[in-house]
């Protein structure tokens, strides 16, 4: 008999990318697949239907809870996540949690970490978290300070690309052409201005902190891997998680993960890791889609797809951003990228 091409059994069929995989060893399954997951944010919170942030935060914190054996404290910036989880008299949090202000979560976390350090509680770890507004805008100074001091804090930004808590206003993470309440889809240049905004993961890398990563609710395995890895390290760490907002993005409540996936698969949101300022790992695009595929499922870009015709020029601008990311981060294998 002639041999068929050798193809070793990889553990990836029947739901490789699913939350769980009964075919996997228990220890290798996701935290989310476990009945013992901590549900750091439990039911009854007041997030919108299909909220990406509620999901992303539970993913991240449950994973961190697992990694720290429950010895975890969270500091939360003001924002949707804070408001929908802790309206008096109820909280959804099941870990020690502190909210102070909109712009100071990284500094508060520094203080919490310092307190536990001085008390000899090295086992207790600290996460600070906030949305893109508190991270890239109002809390940016504190974040940079925390990075610079290399405080033992994992900062997680749940990026939904605008100030959703206050009713969808532009932040420095709002993408070009997106409609927000302060970048309306009217006039000569509808939506957000092209050429603005901050790439916080890259800025974080410029601080030479031990760990920077991007993640998404569309790739749980990757997200948990990164959070777990981050919790295995000391010093300032940063994870930037893309969390679609059905309200602000004008996407269906059941499309939250799908939209996040399109962001990744188009190259608009590259998934990577960096250690001490150098990119160490990049998640390749599995099934590439065009930027347009991502844009058109969101009403915040509806003005690019008017009845009278698509705004091909602007769509091309976004496509170039995607192409640039693909090239810059090597999101596709050479031959498939052609």
């Amino acid at each position: 008999m002639t041999e068929h091409p050798s193809q070793s059994v990889k553990f990836y069929q029947t739901g490789t990318h699913t939350v769980g995989n009964r075919l996997l060893d228990e220890t290798k399954r996701t935290v989310q697949a476990s009945v013992d997951r901590s549900n750091a944010i439990t039911s009854g919170h007041r997030a919108c239907q299909g909220c990406g942030e509620a999901l992303g935060a539970r993913y991240a914190l449950d994973s961190a809870m697992r990694a720290t054996d429950g010895q975890l404290v969270a500091v939360n910036a003001t924002g949707c996540l804070e408001v929908f989880t802790t309206p008096y008299p109820e909280t959804s949090w099941q870990l020690p949690w502190l909210h102070s202000l909109f712009g100071n979560a990284p500094a508060v976390a520094t203080g919490v970490a310092a307190a536990f350090r001085v008390k000899g509680r090295k086992d207790v770890r600290v996460i600070a978290q906030g949305g893109d507004g508190s991270t890239t805008d109002i809390g940016f100074g504190c974040l940079s300070g925390m990075f610079e001091r290399n405080d033992d804090v994992l900062y997680i930004c749940y990026d939904n690309e605008a100030y959703m808590n206050t009713g969808v206003q532009r932040s420095s993470a709002t993408p070009p052409f997106a409609r927000t309440a302060t970048t309306q889809a009217i006039g000569e240049a509808p939506g957000n201005v092209f050429g603005t905004g901050k790439n916080l993961p890259l800025i974080a890398m410029a601080h030479n902190i031990p760990y920077v990563a991007t993640a998404s609710v569309a790739d749980l395995h990757d997200l948990e891997y990164k959070v777990t890895k981050a919790m295995g390290m000391r010093g300032a760490r940063y994870i930037h998680i893309l969390v679609p907002c059905p309200l602000g993005w004008g996407s269906a409540s059941d499309a939250t993960i799908q939209v996040a996936r399109l962001a990744i698969e188009s190259g608009l949101f590259p998934l990577f890791e960096a250690e001490h300022g150098e990119v160490t790992q990049v998640s390749k695009i599995r099934r590439r889609v065009m930027a347009e595929d991502y844009l058109k499922v969101q009403k915040r870009f509806a003005h690019l797809f008017r009845k009278e015709g698509k705004d091909v020029d602007k769509i091309a601008v976004v496509q170039r951003m995607a192409d640039h990311n693909i090239k810059r981060f090597g999101l596709m294998d050479e031959e498939t990228a052609q």
Partner: protein, 414 residues
Amino acid sequence: MHHQIEGSEAVARAVALCRPEVVCAYPITPQTHIVEGVGALVKKGQLTDCEFINVESEFAALSVAIGASAAGARTYTATASQGLLFMAEAVYNAAGLGLPIVMTIGNRAIGAPINIWNDHSDSMSMRDAGWIQLYAETNQEAVDLHIQAFRLAEELSCPVMVCMDGFILTHAYERIDLPSQQEVDAFLPRFEPVQVLDPAHPYSIGAMVGPEAFTEVRYLAHDKQVQALQLIPEIGQVFSEVFGRASGGLIHEYKSDGAETIVVALGSVNGTIKEVIDVMRGDGLAIGSVSICSFRPFPLDELRDALKSAKRVVVIEKNLAPGLGGVLASNVRMALRGATATVYTVIAGLGGRPILMNSLHDVFIAASEDKLTDVQFLDLNQAVVDLELERARTTRHSGPTAESILRQNAKVGE
């Protein structure tokens, strides 16, 4: 033990004696020497089990303090002036969360025009933030108040500001009696927080509170200050028993018993005031003074009692409420509601303008003769002001007022 040291250094050592676990530092004149001093003690190993954290702003300084305090650490920071304003949001937050942080204010004016010298505009801006505010008259008192502040803060779960006049106290070398570690340890128990971030008890701290409970929360904040009116004298009493000297309390009276004219002031200017009172008493005038140590909570009853003999009260204000007059005077009037005494507001020492004995003497004489207008600016160069007002009336594009005044000052001085 007595030392001849700078006020800032004395406060740094006093703070260190209180065994703070987290100290956040950000430089701003005239407070900087204090955190430098604490930092040095940590580096020298004289203050152990303390995290000294250099932060990137005052906002971060207090925010770090908030986190540390919420996690159960005894926490300290210091600031002044613009720094206090920059951390304003966190100032309110720390009080709202009931975190017993102690913070020194090296009192300094607020710009523009930028001014690094002393007055009380900074701490006055935060008077209603829910912190206890104590004002030190001397560096010895500054030292003593810090030690008391930690105990007060932690008993009440309420942050405390110890205000000391920038430069005048912070940079003055004086004789200071610094207590021993044993004495401080005997006075200041371990910090037992009422709420703490703890994986064993995973509370959520800092919830959003709506109309249904916010009033109650605020009432409780007020009540906490009312409790402090009891606690501050009690702690002052215990302090004097342990350390053998009276320090702190709500107010200090000086020759006010039976005085017809009583001067009320905050902070270091009280020393100069006493000198003037001694002179005037020597001249046979019935004058005394009251130094207010606890501005928040404001000791309405104690002050009313202290001022009961006064026909007139002269409030020396190191701050200005533009459009009203003086903040302190307004508070004093609250204490005197229903009483017949006249309250004069004398705005003095703004932006570091020296408050001279002679000037005070003149103004007290005028007061005793009821020749003062209500809001009086001590040593105001009226000529310059008049010139500038005149110029502004005629010239639309005025340019910077302060520089214009400086130019006119030169002219007037010629």
